[in-house]
């Protein structure tokens, strides 16, 4: 591995215009090749558009990584039923923060992508299901859709192609589970957002039991550039199986949290290298590659290629590329407890393993964190997680088990320390932004003696205590 220059590592495409004058407007979008991909698509046969997106190798950016073109191809043609495109903009996975800034700064990339996708799958009514808690984005989507109608990109006879398309912007009302595609469809039909049994898959029986494509915002927003610049250009980035560019969202105990758009396959070490690293005076402890539902990583995984295969081979999932970074001041039991409380709160209640299991996980974790755990709790924790994982109705249950399994794998001694010492050995105030040295060139961390470190950080054999700054290339 060689030292990396930011200009070479990063590849802004979706974010390329964010620094321009009012990038959310149609005028700015068009001034930067906006809607050229649509013109290209409308010159093509819809099936050829599907083939192009398939050949480009675009994979879903919402977590699962399913090939986007293949999803489109599954829509039966000539079946006499309406087809629907539904964009999943219900971004709620803890740590995930890419679609919201994308839509806030560049909503037309999504709308153009939706028109292209609708043309390809022969859909005349598409929906954006936006989570309701983000009114600033809703405002810009309303405006962008109105601009697109005005310009003739939407409505009757789009750009004289004979193809009609309406887009409805739909605001959700607060429910993480609606990010699950079949729960989203139930919610869009005006019901409680609960997942459906599959099969039938949405491609056969989705919205109103009609063939439906459900795609993530970033997946669809990536389509116009592929049409405009071609699949070969797209494949110059990333790897054979994970081609293209994507938004990596860095957050937590880092010098510069934010959006870093790069070819698939960069590493966390590279992203930290160019962005100023872990906050000054601190070291990486654990991180998630793609949100809380993806098994956590440690400083041993800094060089894992952040693409679908690389992260999978290392025992986690690329997920949403939400790189949440936690330093040595963070109690892993506290972090996992809070995530588990989230899953318990968001469990839709439809299936027993998830509804009951997440409840009991919270009870156990809370008492362990409070220093009231008893011998056998860790085994019970593992056992309950095992009874949720793979046995729930949808992936929310699997997601709830991920932080439990992975934290027990990498930080079991920290759990045991909570049991043994009958207390949490960490001071939460040390983890806050204002307690740290972020943004200042302070030297506090360098003067710190090992005794000042929370006991949980000192693994006897370096198993989880490998925090010698000189051994870690991610320090600022």
């Amino acid at each position: 591995m060689t030292a990396t220059h930011p200009e070479k590592l990063l590849s802004p495409v979706l974010s390329a215009t964010w620094g321009e004058e009012k990038p959310w407007t149609l005028a700015t979008y068009r001034a930067h090749d906006g809607y050229k991909g649509l013109h290209e698509a409308l010159r093509m046969n819809p099936d050829d558009v599907i083939a192009l997106v398939k050949d480009a190798g675009l994979r879903g950016r919402g977590g699962a990584g399913f090939p986007t073109g293949m999803k489109w191809q599954f829509i039966p043609q000539g079946d006499g039923k309406p087809h629907y495109l539904v964009v999943n903009a219900d971004e709620s996975e803890p740590g995930t923060c890419k679609d919201i800034p994308l839509l806030f700064a560049n909503p037309h990339s999504l709308i153009e992508g939706m028109i292209i996708a609708s043309w390809a799958i022969r859909c005349s009514h598409a929906f954006i299901y936006l989570r309701g808690e983000t009114v600033p984005v809703l405002r810009r989507l309303h405006a962008a859709v109105a601009e697109a109608y005005e310009a003739g990109y939407l409505g009757r006879d789009v750009l004289g192609s004979g193809f009609d398309l309406d887009i409805t912007v739909h605001a959700g009302a607060g429910a993480y589970i609606c990010g699950e595609e079949t729960a989203l469809l139930d919610s869009l039909e005006g019901r409680r957002g609960q997942p459906r049994l599959r099969p039938p898959f949405p491609a056969v029986a989705g919205l109103y039991a009609c063939p439906t494509v459900v795609n993530n915002v970033e997946s669809i927003a990536s389509v116009p550039a592929i049409l405009h610049k071609g699949k070969d250009w797209f494949r110059t980035m990333g790897s054979e199986k994970s081609p293209g560019f994507t938004l990596y969202s860095l957050s937590g105990h880092v010098t510069n949290p934010g959006q870093y758009e790069a070819p698939l396959g960069v590493t966390l070490r590279q992203l930290l290298d160019i962005s100023g690293g872990v906050r000054e005076g601190h070291t990486l402890k654990f991180w998630t590659p793609g949100g809380s539902s993806t098994p956590m990583f440690t400083d041993k995984h800094l060089d894992v290629a952040l693409d679908y295969e690389g992260v999978g081979a290392a025992g986690s999932m690329l997920g949403t590329k939400a790189l949440q970074v936690f330093d040595e001041t963070t109690c892993v039991v506290r972090a996992v407890t809070r995530w588990t409380e989230f899953y318990a709160h968001e469990s839709c209640g439809k299936c027993t393993p998830c509804r009951e299991g997440t409840y009991w996980l919270v009870q156990l974790l809370r008492r362990i964190e409070a220093g009231e755990g008893v011998p056998g709790d860790l085994e019970k924790l593992n056992d309950i997680a095992d009874n949720i994982n793979g046995k729930s109705f949808c992936a929310l249950g699997d997601g709830a088990a991920s932080p439990i399994f992975s934290s027990l794998q990498y930080f079991r001694d920290e759990y045991e320390q909570h049991l043994r010492e009958r207390r949490c050995p960490f001071d939460p105030s040390a983890s806050t932004v204002w307690a740290g040295t972020r943004g200042r060139r302070a030297t506090a961390g360098k003067d710190r003696s090992p005794e000042d470190d929370p006991p949980g950080d000192r693994g006897p054999d370096g198993q989880n205590g490998d925090f010698d700054p000189s051994e870690n290339g991610v320090l600022a």
Partner: protein, 256 residues
């Protein structure tokens, strides 16, 4: 109320007064018209009745049921599933503090505790003057701006206990408050109307607050050869085996 306490079924809710109903009917027709099937209009209709009363009342539920030819039980089942529908009257400004793991660890827990103390109310409670409701919320897709506070679902990024207290004081004093991302605040009912799918009519509201703060632009700036705060210029912090190379590059530039 005594009937309820006795465990007897409640009588049907009162309908909206005729003039309210007439006004809502026009909006409801527009909402229903957006969808191939009318039931899809239920979530926006619930936002609409929330924009009328500030919460989803039994009257509001009855209204939605009648508009969509559903039972009030069906509508209630949906209204109680989603966290954004309030079930009782609450504050003009809905303050949500993210206490999911990342924001909590970075200080959201402290902000939430401090606001409860400062306002003298607990989670899901409203100040006596009716100005502020406080709630801890789940991840709001703004982790790169943590810790995050939402007011009427506009973003107040990078908060700390002091800035959050100042924020609620300003809200209570009736001062104009602007989010870091979003438009100048409107009341909770106006927000609910936008959520029902009626665009914000205030001139310029769409354009307020720009395209995003530094975190949104971080990668873009680096790609353009600019430097980020705290990085000490275009220095390349390299892997351990590249230590000498790192040092030789270290002197260029300074802090942004």
């Amino acid at each position: 109320m005594s009937a309820t306490e006795l465990g007897l079924p409640e009588l049907p809710a009162e309908p909206y007064p005729a003039e309210v109903r007439e006004r809502l009917d026009a909006d409801a027709a527009e909402i229903v018209d957006r969808y191939p099937q009318s039931r899809s209009a239920l979530l926006p209709l619930l936002h609409l009745v929330q924009s009328e009363e500030g919460f989803v009342s039994r009257t509001g539920i009855r209204y939605c049921a009648e508009r969509l030819d559903l039972t009030t039980a069906e509508v209630t089942a949906v209204a109680t599933f989603y966290t954004m529908y309030r079930r009782r009257p609450a504050g003009e400004y809905h303050v949500g503090v993210c206490t999911n793991t990342l924001c909590a660890v970075l200080g959201g827990d402290e902000i939430f505790a401090e606001l409860q103390r400062h306002l003298g109310i607990g989670n899901n409670e409203t100040t006596e003057d009716g100005s502020i409701s406080l709630e801890h919320i789940e991840c709001n897709a703004a982790c790169d701006y943590a810790p995050v506070v939402m007011v009427n679902w506009e973003f107040f990024d990078n908060q700390d206990p002091e800035s959050a207290k100042q924020l609620v004081d300003d809200l209570r004093a009736g001062a104009e408050v602007r989010p870091t991302r979003g438009a100048r605040l409107c009341g909770f009912k106006d927000t609910a109307r936008i959520l029902a799918g009626f665009p914000d009519e205030r001139p310029g509201a769409v354009d307020e607050s720009g395209a995003g703060g530094l975190p949104s632009m971080a990668g873009l700036r680096l790609a353009h050869g600019e430097t980020l705060p705290g990085t000490g210029g275009p220095k390349v912090v390299s892997p351990r085996q590249q230590q000498t190379d790192d040092e030789s590059n270290g002197g260029e530039g300074d802090e942004a």
